[in-house]
């Protein structure tokens, strides 16, 4: 198993240590021979570093959020932070219990995404042939949202006037219906992946930050993959760097094991 380097002397406070665990992963499109360098940092505390990570296929990735409610995955375009975020759902989607939670590390609680969680994916999952309202009503019905959730989501994301508009007519605003879809049902955990378009390159993203804050305040967890610093003060940040030439051999560890 990869090991975190110990924090530099006097640079950290163990009380705030956030552990993370990387499993061999089967992320879609992931180059099997690539190696990653991962840096897990908390400003002003310490920066343990996990380097030369070489995930293999047919496994999975896991992130322990520790005592926090949100984790931001950052890195340059193409490094794979979106796949890393989305990869966390794979094994659970194949049948693990939705409410699975386990004790990990020093009594900190960790959980995996399950069927009750919401993936606010890198892509919209919005059909242009259907209206915004139809799209959201479908997801609400499929995900078991409560009555009125669609109307609330439309209002929260400024889409009430576009209820009957086709998804194709919302060019440049495709993220809004996607977020509304993610918000139309209460879920224990939400995974968000910001698109790499012009809107997503802005540092400030009030709707996303607001949705995340509300979600976490309601007791949810959030995992966000993005290219830019969103300035979330209470979220941990895991930065992914491009592969390093001549990295170490692949890591072998059994899936599901910390």
């Amino acid at each position: 198993m990869p090991q975190l380097r110990p924090p530099r002397k006097g640079a950290g406070d163990k009380k705030h240590t956030m552990s993370h665990t990387i499993f061999p992963c089967a992320w879609r499109g992931f180059p099997g021979r690539a190696a990653w360098a991962m840096r897990w940092h908390e400003p002003r505390r310490f920066r343990p570093r996990l380097s030369s990570l070489r995930p293999a296929r047919a496994g999975r990735a896991g992130f322990d959020l520790g005592g926090r409610r949100a984790l931001v995955l950052r890195g340059p375009n193409g490094v794979g932070q979106v796949d890393a975020a989305a990869g966390d759902r794979g094994p659970v989607a194949r049948g693990e219990r939705a409410d699975r939670a386990r004790r990990h590390g020093a009594g900190q609680r960790s959980r995996r995404l399950g069927r009750a969680d919401r993936l606010h994916g890198h892509l919209d999952a919005i059909k242009p042939q259907l209206s915004v309202g139809e799209n959201l009503r479908f997801w609400a019905a499929l995900l078991g949202a409560e009555t009125g959730a669609v109307e609330r989501a439309l209002a929260a994301f400024g889409l009430a006037a576009h209820r009957r508009s086709g998804g194709a007519g919302l060019l440049g605003r495709a993220e809004a219906p996607a977020r509304a879809r993610a918000a139309d049902a209460r879920a224990p955990a939400a995974v968000a992946a910001r698109r790499a378009d012009g809107v997503a390159r802005r540092r400030d993203d009030p709707p996303l930050c607001r949705a995340r804050a509300e979600h976490c305040a309601a007791g949810g967890l959030a995992l966000i993959a993005t290219h830019v610093d969103l300035g979330l003060p209470d979220a941990g940040v895991l930065t992914l760097a491009p592969p390093r030439p001549g990295a170490s051999p692949p890591i072998r560890s059994s899936p599901g094991r910390a």
Binding site: A93, A116, D117, K127, A141, L142
Partner: protein, 195 residues
Amino acid sequence: VSAAIAVLGRELRLALRSGGGAGLGLAFYLIVVLLVPLGVGPETEVLARVAPGTLWIAALLASLLSLDRLFQTDAEDGTLDVLALAPLPLEALVALKALAHWLTTGLPLVAIAPLLAVTLNLPGPAFPWLVASLAAGTPGLSFLGAIGAAVTVGLRRGGLLISILVLPLYIPTLIFGARAVVAAAEGGDPRVQLR
């Protein structure tokens, strides 16, 4: 149940609103069957003899046309990722999508087949069996095709590969379906083929 209804309703709406979706297979079926008399000649005996096979092969190829988009559009826009986390089992989702594919592609073929059978001079007693065999066989084409569509969902231009993967699986359906119609046309007992 409400989730299943939602999936089925959405698939039907998408098929009806997408250009070249449901109508494409029907148009293809019409063209192929109507071209056959031009190719083999106007002799009614010859047309009657080739009619069961022609109608079945055309239905089989028509159902292949839209298979490549069964999962591909969902994969492209991220819908599959979210569906994987939906409370509905993935098996049920695939079955519902295949059912929607049959309702929008196979069922119109079943409905129009008797009309086209007239142009091929299919004997009268074979008409009910043509409809029955297509009604029994075309759902199988959609469900078998879903296997090929799922295998090639990550490939660009996977339509040809779907044909190579799925057409061998279609052979038993084609044989039993066409032979049942042939038996009915020749005055035999078609139930032997459908059992």
